[in-house]
Structure formats: C-alpha cells, structure tokens
C-alpha cells in the first residue's frame, strides 16, 4: 500500500490536545504533588490521581501503566504496614511511602506527556498559546536531549563496570566525579551537534511555521479543561471558607 503521511498523522493524533496535557500537568503538580488545598479537596485529589492511569490506558501505553501501578501499590503498602514496624523502619517506610504516593502520579503524567506528544505537536501547541520562539525552542529540544543524554549515561555506566570501577569499591567516593567527566564533555558535544543540525535546516526563521500534526480541542479536551477549572474553583471556595460537601 502506498504511504500517506497525511493519513498517518491523522492516525497518530493523541487522545487529548497537548494544551490540555499541559493544563493537567500543572493541576496535578499543584494539588497532588504540591499538596495544595485541605480536607475538602481530598476527594478531588483522588480523582486527579486516577487520571494519568486512565489516560495511559486510553493511549495503550501498557508497560508504563503497569509500572506506575506497581510503584503506587508499593507506596501504599509501605504506608499501610508502617504502624506495625519498629521505630527506625517505620520512619523509613513513612518517608518512602509518602514520596512514592505523592510523586508517582505526577511523574506518570509527565511520562504520559513525553511519550504521546511529538515535537511538532508540542511546538504547534506552544504557538497556539502565543509563546515566543525563545521559550518554545529550548523546551522542545528537551524532548530530544534527555533521551539522548540518557543513552550516553548508560554507555558511561557500562564503561565503568567494564573497567571495574564500582560503587562500594575502594574508590567509591570518586565514582560520581568519574562519571561527571565524560558526561559533561559528551553533553556539551551533543547539544552543539543538535543545534548545528537544527540551524542548517532553518529552525528559528521569522516566518509562520507550519506544523503537519493534527491538534485541536475535542469533547474530551473540553471535559478535562472544565474539570481543571472546577478543581481551581473548589480550591478558591475552600480558601474563602465555603463548605462544598
């Protein structure tokens, strides 16, 4: 069958718009990770926490979904067994459990955004939000830079293992320093080569950029944005001392 890029872009269109994703991340970071809001917000937070998992399922990201669920279950299990543990261990369990349950949900949301948003979609969304190029370009490079540097990091770790430099060995204190030397050199090189290549292909031209991806609000986006608005309103009302339920 002949390849059609238009159809394929249509097919890979995400379940929700990138702008909605950004709004959701912000709300999750503030209320679930940041712990904003009091007693009254608890039920809303429960719903918010379930959201990234629902979205991961909607986009068929099975591995990420299961990893997230496992970590969350571990977190709650720690909190649950905490009271039955001896003093030192119970502190430790409280600490780990607290961090896991608080952070995992928002990190899952971040992973969801990175996994399901293409660079083109992201730039397109930022342009629709009237962000200047000076903000959009560095942020969009992140999508590319982090995985590349991650791969470099793995390769350096392997090299250390091969040369017999381990954490816990005689040189444990120096290991971190050793890792940083090649890491910095190669990060600088990668950044430079990525920019050179992007510039020779006309990034940053003062024309209206085209984006071949399909984005735009649909019913599910409106639903979620209204949801976000509701959470914020509920919070403001709580601050004013209004009892909602």
């Amino acid at each position: 069958m002949e390849y059609s890029s238009k159809q394929s872009q249509e097919k890979r269109r995400g379940f929700i718009d990138p702008r909605t994703k950004l709004a959701l991340i912000l709300i999750l970071a503030l209320f679930v990770m940041g712990g904003l809001g009091g007693e009254q917000m608890q039920p809303l937070k429960m719903i918010l926490s379930a959201l990234p998992f629902a979205l991961l399922l909607a986009e068929k990201q099975w591995t990420r979904f299961f990893r997230g669920v496992c970590i969350l279950v571990c977190g709650y299990a720690l909190l649950w067994i905490m009271p039955y543990l001896p003093a030192v261990l119970s502190y430790f369990a409280l600490f780990c459990g607290g961090i896991l349950t608080r952070f995992v949900v928002t990190i899952m949301m971040g992973e969801y955004v990175i996994a399901t948003t293409s660079v083109s979609e992201f730039i397109s969304a930022m342009e629709k939000l009237c962000m200047p190029q000076q903000v959009t370009i560095p942020l969009s490079v992140m999508f590319r830079l982090f995985p590349t540097i991650g791969a470099e990091w793995k390769s350096i770790r392997r090299a250390m293992r091969m040369r017999g430099i381990h954490l816990g060995g005689a040189k444990a204190g120096q290991v971190v320093e050793y890792q940083m030397v090649p890491m910095m050199t190669s990060s600088v090189r990668i950044g430079e080569e990525l920019s050179a290549s992007a510039l020779t292909r006309g990034l940053g031209a003062p024309v209206k950029r085209t984006n071949i991806c399909r984005i735009g609000f649909r019913a599910q986006d409106y639903l979620m944005l209204v949801g976000c608005l509701f959470v914020v309103c509920a919070w403001i009302l709580e601050m004013c001392g209004v009892r909602l339920w």
Binding site: E2, Y3, S4, S5, K6, S8, Q9, R12, S118, V119, S120, S140, V141, F143, R144, P147, T148, A151, E152, S155, I156, R158, A159, M160, R161, M162, R163, G164, I165, A170, K171, Y178, Q179, V181, P182, T185, S186, R189, I190, E193, L194, S195, A196, S197, A198, L199, T200, R201, G202, L203, G204, A205, P206, V207, K208, R209, T210, N211, I212, C213
Partner: protein
Amino acid sequence: MVELKNVTFRYGAAENQNGAKNSLSGVDLSVKDGEFVLLTGPSGCGKTTILRLINGLIPHFYQGETEGTVLVEGKEIRDMELYDTARLVGTVFQNPRTQFYNVDTTGELAFGCENRGLPEEQIYQRIDDTVASLGIEKLMDRSIFHLSDGEKQKIACSGVNVSGPDLILLDEPSANLDFEATMALRNMILSWRSKGKTIIAAEHRIAYLWDLIDRAVILENGRIARQFTRNELSVLTPEDLAQMGLRTNIMEAPEKSLLPVYQENDEPMILHDFNFSYRGRKQPVLQIPHLRLAAHEITAVTGNNGLGKTTFLSCLCGLEKRFRGTLEYKGRNYSNRDRQKLCYLVMQDTGNQLFTESVLEEVLISLPKNTENAEGRAAELLRRLDLGEYPDRHPQSLSGGQKQRLAIACALASGREILLLDEPTSGLDYGHMKETADMLKKLRDMGTTVLVVTHDTELIRHCCSRMISESSFQ
C-alpha cells in the same frame, strides 16, 4: 553554484588567536551547477571547515576569523541568515545520533519544510513522494531511538530530499555505516545526481563514491594540495592513493577477505551457549551454541548493523547480567564475572570510558592495587603507546586516535588478556587506520588476543588473521 575565493579561516575568538593554526589558508574552489565534488585528505586537513563555510555554520555558529569570500548562487554566505541559507543548502552530518530534532521519523522529514512555513498539503505531498521514491515506508512513523545507525542516516538523507535544496553537503556520512548501508547511501547519491543536484562530499572512505564523482579535491593542512578530474581519477591505483595518505578506492565487502575462523595450530578459546535476547523480546540477538576462536590472533568480527555484534562484545565482556554463556580458555570456564576480569572493551565512543583528569591518572586507576612502582609502570606503558609526552593532559582534550591509545594503555595496565575493540577505525584517515592496524599487530606480538568488530575491509586486510562473519552468528 559555489565559489570560495582566497579563503583563510582560524577557529576561536579574535582575542585569543596568538599562534593558533589556520584551519584553511588561501583556498580557491569553485563548483559548477550539477557537479559532484569530493573533498578528501588526512584528518584535520580542513574538509569539514569548508562545508561549514558553505552551509553558514561558520561564521554564524562556530566562531572564528574568516578572510576572503564564500558565495553560494552569487550570494555572500556571511551576510545571509542561517535560515535563508537553509533553503539553498542541505547538510547530512557524520554522527547519526545527534542530527535529529524530532523524535518521530515523519516529523523529522517534515522539519525543514515546516520551518520554512510551506503549506501543509505541499509538505505531505513532498514526504509521500520521497518515501515512495526511496522505498522507506518501513521507516516511517517510528521513534528514531529504535533505528539503527544506517537507518538513521537514511532518514537524514531523506530529510534533505524532502526540503529539496539544490546544493547538498555530505560531512563523512558513511563513517558509522556498514557495507549494505553504505551502498544504500550510494544509491541515494545516484538519485540526487539524476535530478541534477550539486553535491559536495567530505569523506575518508572514498571507495563507495569514487566512480560517481566529477572531481576530487585533496586537501593538506588547510590548502588544496591536488585536484583530479574524472579522467585523471580513473588511472589512480590504491597504491597511489596510499602515498597521498588516502583510503582505498576499491569497494569490497568485508566478507570477501576469506579468513579462517580457526586453524589447526591455534590455541583454542571456546564460546559455549552464546545465546541472548533482550528483555521482553522473543527474537534472539545472538545464537551461537558453540564456537571455537583462536587465542593470540587478531580476529575480525564482521556483518551488517543490527546483527548483534556490539551485543556479542558486551556479552563476551560479562556486561550483560542476564547472559548465561561461558568461555572456555586455558582449560578453565569463565563465567560473566570472571570474564569481566579477563576482557577489556575499547568502545566506539572512547571518550565515554575515560574518567579522570590526567592521562597518567587514567592509567594509574587501571593498574592492580599494590603494584610496585605504579607511576613508573604507567609511564612506561604510556611511552609504549606513544603517549609519553602527555602525562598531564586532560584525557578529554586528546584527539580521537590518542584517546583510543590511552584506552588501550589502560587495558594493558589492567593486565587483561583479551582486548575487544568496537569499530576502532570509523572516521579515520589512511594514516591513522594504518597506525591502529600496526598497534594491534604489536599487541598481538605481545601475546594479547584481539577481537575487533569492524566494517573496515582495509583494516581487515592490514592486520586481521582470523574472521567471524554473519554466518557464524546464526
């Protein structure tokens, strides 16, 4: 199309130029419409610098002091913004891993046109045309992190094709490619030729494009040393080229070298159960139930990208925790952990395996603890690998070849008997390739067993005496 008039260039900011060497001095070069010019010469001769002057990265991205003029289609590059030059000139770079802006391949093909603000429909049309004419349907809508180096380079070339500039620059695009991927690159160039594009390629591995070029320009120390027209090229032999410090012009698959895997009198080194597949994938990468290798010889490991050669090396080194195979050597069976102390891997990115702040210290941390007169021994090793002059240099500031020799010095210091190298000659000129070959021979004479993963037929011809190829991997 392109005109360089008396161009002299020096890297670095204007204020700290004292004594800095010219990267180019007094270069005159003019390239006609539709011409295909090869720039070649030893490392550091200024090939890449010329390309950067033409695509505008100099002076707009890399700083330096330029004299003379560089014109593309009659326009001075210096006075043009990079995004305007981008419409005229397309570049394919050496490193396939760092020239993409997008994560998905389709977005990558569209990138150049998107930046120019072409209408959507037109971009779709251009992508579909390129995909159909180059037959890359299988590569579309994939994450670039899941492509092999050869496939990435194909996407980079296709991206240039979608943008459709009249001038195409190739900066050592074949450095990381195997034989088949290099042939695919050759076909790409043929299709550009048939469309009348002007092409300027900087390359060490000249064989794959030797019969396609109109002219070869040979650079030395930033000057044009010689030029050969098409007719003059055809009489040059590999020996003539070697004399000028150039690689061979004969394209030959590594498998053609016909070396034995193992011979009667060799000391055996036997691999048992070298089977491996990555977590969550059914398809095995390695499937070698039993293979006898020769110790104390230089064995080439060849085969196309994606056949698991690099995986083979890391399994052999004991770096894959889930790997269960063993190595039988001198009447002993070596498990993963034991092999970590027996084998030393010189990686492709040698910079990633040098961790300290001085050359001497790098060797010192590799020496076994309680070595007597450690400094003296380290200095002796450095001398033997021609690094005696630089004990205090920062390892990351060394040249590629020097880094490689330092990594090997560390291998010798650690006293491991088996040395593994992953593509040691990618991007090396004739002189450096020969140096590497000579050094491997020296190591063999000292009793080291050397296994080298390579696509470089010339290196195999120069130093390898045994070979494992594709057929042994399945």
